[in-house]
C-alpha cells in the first residue's frame, strides 16, 4: 500500500463536509465503508479520491487539475462513483409509503442506479437502533419502516421476533426515472417534488439508514433470490454511474453483479467491450464497479477475456468467474468473430450482452440486432426505404450451434428467469452467453420509467423470447432448450385475457417511438411492419421446433 497524499484541509470526501453534511456521497451501500485500497505502485486511491474526485465534484476538475498519471495510465479506483452527487439532476424523487409495502423487493432490484435500498432488522434490534436516532427525527424516520407479512409476520412465526423492513431512497444517486414507482404493484412509492424539506429529510433518512447497520441475515432467505440485494456483498455496482435516467442496461448490470457477488463476493472480474456501458461506467473519474474491470476496444473483448482467463488459470484462479460484457454492436457485429472464437475455445468465459438493438452510444445506428422496420440513424425511415429492411440476427441461436456452449436470453423484468440464467451460466464449466433485452429510452422512444414494462412486452409479443439452452440437460437440442417463462409457450401469440386478443409484434411496435413512422395517420401499420411481424413469428416457430413444442 502506498502512502496517501491527502492533505486537503476540508476533510475526506468519504466523510461529512459542508457540501455534503449528511455524508450521502460515500463508500458502502448499506453501511459506510472505507476506500477500497489497492496494492499497486501506480495508483494512490486516497490521492485520487481526495484530489481528483474532489476537483470534479466541486466543479474545477476539467479546468484546473493538471494532467495526471492515473489518467495517462487509464486507471480509476474501484467504486469512485459512490462519491458522485446526482441530487440536483431531477426535479422529483420517490416517496416511500410504508403502510402499502409488501417487501417484494422489485423496486430495489429494478433501480438502475442503486438508489433505492432495502433493509430488515428484528423488532428488538429496531427498537434499540431507533433510540440512537435524534429525537427530533425519530418519528419522521420511524414512519419509513413497515411491518410486512413477508418479514414481520413470517419472521415472528419463524424466529419469534418480527422483521422490520425499510425501503430508503439515496437522494444523491436517484435520477428520478420513476422505474421503481412503475414496478411497484402496491402503491408503496410515488414521485414527489424535491422541495428543501423533502431533500433534507431524504438526506437525513439515508444517513440514518447507513448508520443503523446491516440487515439481520436471519430474515434473508438464501433460497429467495429476490432478497439477495438486502446483502451488502451483492452491492458491487454502486450508484453514481453516468447512464441515462431509467437506463435498462444499468439495471441489467446491477442484477448481473448482484447474482455473481452472491456466489463469489468481489472475487471476480469484468472485461467490457466499448459501448454505452463503458462510457457511463468509466466517465473519468467515476467508476461504479467494486470488482476489477477493464476495457480495450469495441471488437476484441472476448479475445481480451481469453487472455485474462489464461493468465488467471495459470495463477490458479480457475474458479474465479470472468464476465465479458458488451452491447449488441460489440457482440452481434464488430466483435462477432472474437465471440465465436471464444466459444470454440471452450474456455470458462461468460459473456453478457446488453441488447438494445441499436448502437446506443454513438447516436443510434442500426446493428444486426435491430428489428426489421426500426427507424435508426443508419436505416432512416424515408420515402424510398422505410427503416431497416433486413431481418434481426439471432445471436442466441448462433451460439447454440457452437460446441458445448450455455446460452440464455432473458430480461430484467423477468427477475427469476434473469437470475436463473446468470447463475446457470456461472455454474456451467465452459463458455456461456446471456443475452439480455435492455431498453434504451432515447433510442427506443419510450419514457424513462418504461424499461421493465417494455422488456416484458418484448417477451409477450415474441420480439424477444426467453430461452435457456443448457448443454448439461440432455443429448438433444429438445432436451437442452427451455422456453419456460414465455407466455402461451405452445401457441403462436400470447392472448391478453383482458381483451381476448392476440398481442403481436405490431402491438409492441405501436408502443415505441422507434416504429412510429410505420403507422399512418389512422394508425394502420406499414407493409414492412407486417413483414417484421411475420419475421418474429417465424423466429418463435423455429424456437418452438428446436424445443420440441412444434
Amino acid at each position: 500500500m502506498i502512502a496517501t497524499t491527502n492533505g486537503h484541509a476540508n476533510g475526506s470526501l468519504n466523510e461529512a463536509t459542508t457540501r455534503d453534511p449528511f455524508n450521502n456521497n460515500c463508500y458502502g451501500t448499506m453501511v459506510d465503508r472505507k476506500y477500497k485500497l489497492v496494492s499497486l505502485p501506480v495508483l494512490d486511491v486516497n490521492d485520487f479520491n481526495e484530489r481528483i474526485i474532489r476537483g470534479y465534484e466541486e466543479g474545477y476538475g476539467e479546468k484546473e487539475l493538471p494532467a495526471d498519471l492515473s489518467l495517462a495510465r487509464s486507471l480509476v479506483p474501484a467504486g469512485t462513483a459512490s462519491l458522485r452527487d446526482f441530487s440536483n439532476i431531477s426535479p422529483e424523487i420517490p416517496e416511500y409509503i410504508a403502510d402499502n409495502c409488501t417487501g417484494c423487493m422489485d423496486c430495489v432490484t429494478e433501480c438502475p442506479d442503486t438508489a433505492i435500498l432495502g433493509k430488515v432488522l428484528s423488532e428488538t434490534e429496531w427498537n434499540e437502533k431507533m433510540s440512537t436516532i435524534p429525537e427530533a427525527d425519530r418519528e419522521m424516520y420511524g414512519k419509513q419502516w413497515s411491518r410486512t407479512k413477508k418479514y414481520f409476520d413470517a419472521g415472528k412465526k419463524r424466529l419469534g421476533d418480527g422483521g422490520m423492513f425499510q425501503i430508503i431512497i439515496d437522494p444523491s444517486k436517484c435520477k428520478g426515472c420513476a422505474e421503481c414507482v412503475t414496478v411497484c404493484d402496491d402503491d408503496a412509492l410515488k414521485m414527489i417534488a424535491k422541495t428543501d424539506e423533502v431533500m433534507l429529510n431524504s438526506r437525513k433518512s439515508h444517513r440514518y439508514f447507513k448508520n443503523i447497520g446491516p440487515s439481520n441475515e436471519k430474515y434473508i432467505s438464501d433460497n429467495l433470490l429476490i432478497d439477495m440485494m438486502l446483502k451488502e456483498q451483492t452491492m458491487i455496482y454502486t450508484g453514481g454511474a453516468g447512464s441515462c435516467a431509467g437506463c435498462g442496461e444499468g439495471t441489467a448490470l446491477r442484477m448481473l453483479c448482484a447474482a455473481t457477488a452472491l456466489k463469489h463476493n468481489d472475487d471476480w472480474g469484468i472485461i467490457a467491450a466499448t459501448g454505452c456501458n463503458t462510457v457511463y461506467t468509466s466517465t473519468y473519474p467515476y467508476n461504479p464497479y467494486l470488482v476489477p474491470w477493464s476495457n480495450s476496444l469495441f471488437e476484441n473483448a472476448p479475445t481480451y477475456a481469453i487472455g485474462v482467463r489464461m493468465r488467471w488459470d495459470q495463477m490458479g484462479w480457475d474458479k474465479k468467474p470472468l464476465w465479458c460484457i458488451g452491447g449488441d454492436g460489440a457482440m452481434f457485429d464488430i466483435g462477432f468473430q472474437a465471440l465465436s472464437r471464444m466459444f470454440a475455445s471452450g474456455m470458462n468465459v461468460k459473456v453478457f450482452v446488453l441488447d438494445t438493438q441499436v448502437y446506443s452510444n454513438t447516436g443510434g445506428q442500426a446493428s444486426t440486432s435491430t428489428y426489421t422496420g426500426q427507424n435508426t440513424k443508419m436505416s432512416v425511415h424515408g420515402k424510398s426505404v422505410d427503416g431497416k429492411q433486413e431481418r434481426r440476427k439471432e445471436i442466441a441461436q448462433i451460439a447454440i450451434m457452437h460446441p458445448r456452449t450455455y446460452v440464455a436470453q432473458t430480461t430484467c423484468a423477468h427477475i427469476n428467469h434473469f437470475y436463473k440464467s446468470v447463475l446457470g451460466a456461472m455454474e456451467f464449466d465452459g463458455p456461456a452467453i446471456v443475452v439480455c433485452y435492455t431498453t434504451c429510452q432515447p433510442e427506443h422512444g419510450v419514457a424513462d420509467n418504461m424499461a421493465g414494462e417494455q422488456a416484458r412486452l418484448a417477451v409477450d409479443t415474441r420480439a424477444f423470447p426467453l430461452l435457456i439452452y443448457d448443454p448439461r440437460a440432455g443429448d438433444t437440442i429438445k432436451k437442452r432448450l427451455s422456453l419456460q417463462g414465455n407466455p402461451n409457450v405452445k401457441g403462436d401469440w400470447f392472448v391478453n385475457p383482458k381483451t381476448n386478443k392476440e398481442v403481436t409484434f405490431i402491438d409492441f411496435a405501436r408502443s415505441e417511438g422507434r416504429f412510429a413512422k410505420h403507422f399512418d395517420k389512422d394508425g394502420n401499420p406499414s407493409e414492412t411492419l407486417a413483414f417484421a411481424n411475420k419475421d418474429r413469428l417465424e423466429n418463435w416457430h423455429l424456437l418452438q421446433e428446436l424445443a420440441g413444442l412444434r
Binding site: 433470490l225 443510434g364 427469476n416 427506443h444 422512444g445 420509467n449 407466455p487 381483451t499 408502443s511 389512422d522
Partner: protein, 129 residues
C-alpha cells in the same frame, strides 16, 4: 432455489385490482363533461390540465368515460365519452396513446379498455444523416 412465480392471468388481475383501488380511493384531479360537438373543448381541457399530472402512464376507456393516469396513479377524467364514440380517437391521440384503430371502438371483455402512454420521440428523430 425458490423462484417466485405467478401466472400471467394472476398478474393481470393484480394490476387490475391495484388500479381499481386507485380509482376508487382518489378523486380525479380534474374533470370535463363531454357533450356532442365538444371535442375542441375536451382537447383544450387535456392540454390545459396536463401540467397537473406527472409522466403519463396509461389511459382507461369505459363505456361512458375516459381516464388518463400518470405514474403516481393520479388521473383526470373526461365524462360522457366512451370507447364506442368516434371522438375518443383524437383524445387518445392527444395523449399519445398506443391503440389499434381496428379495435379501439370494440367493447372490451372486461372494462376498462387500457392503452399505454409511454411512447416518446426517439433521440434526434428529426435529424437526417
Amino acid at each position: 432455489m425458490i423462484y417466485r412465480s405467478f401466472s400471467r392471468s394472476a398478474l393481470w388481475t393484480t394490476i387490475a385490482a391495484r388500479e381499481a383501488k386507485r380509482t376508487y380511493m382518489s378523486p380525479a384531479k380534474a374533470t370535463f363533461e363531454f357533450s356532442a360537438g365538444a371535442l375542441a373543448g375536451a382537447l383544450e381541457f387535456l392540454k390545459r390540465t396536463r401540467w397537473e399530472l406527472r409522466s403519463l402512464r396509461r389511459a382507461h376507456v369505459y363505456a361512458d368515460c375516459l381516464r388518463i393516469f400518470d405514474i403516481n396513479g393520479d388521473y383526470f377524467e373526461v365524462r360522457g365519452i366512451g370507447f364506442a364514440d368516434s371522438d375518443v380517437v383524437p383524445l387518445l391521440q392527444a395523449v399519445n396513446a398506443a391503440f389499434d384503430p381496428a379495435s379501439v371502438h370494440e367493447p372490451p371483455v372486461s372494462t376498462p379498455k387500457e392503452f399505454d402512454l409511454g411512447r416518446r420521440y426517439t433521440w434526434a428523430h428529426d435529424r437526417v444523416m
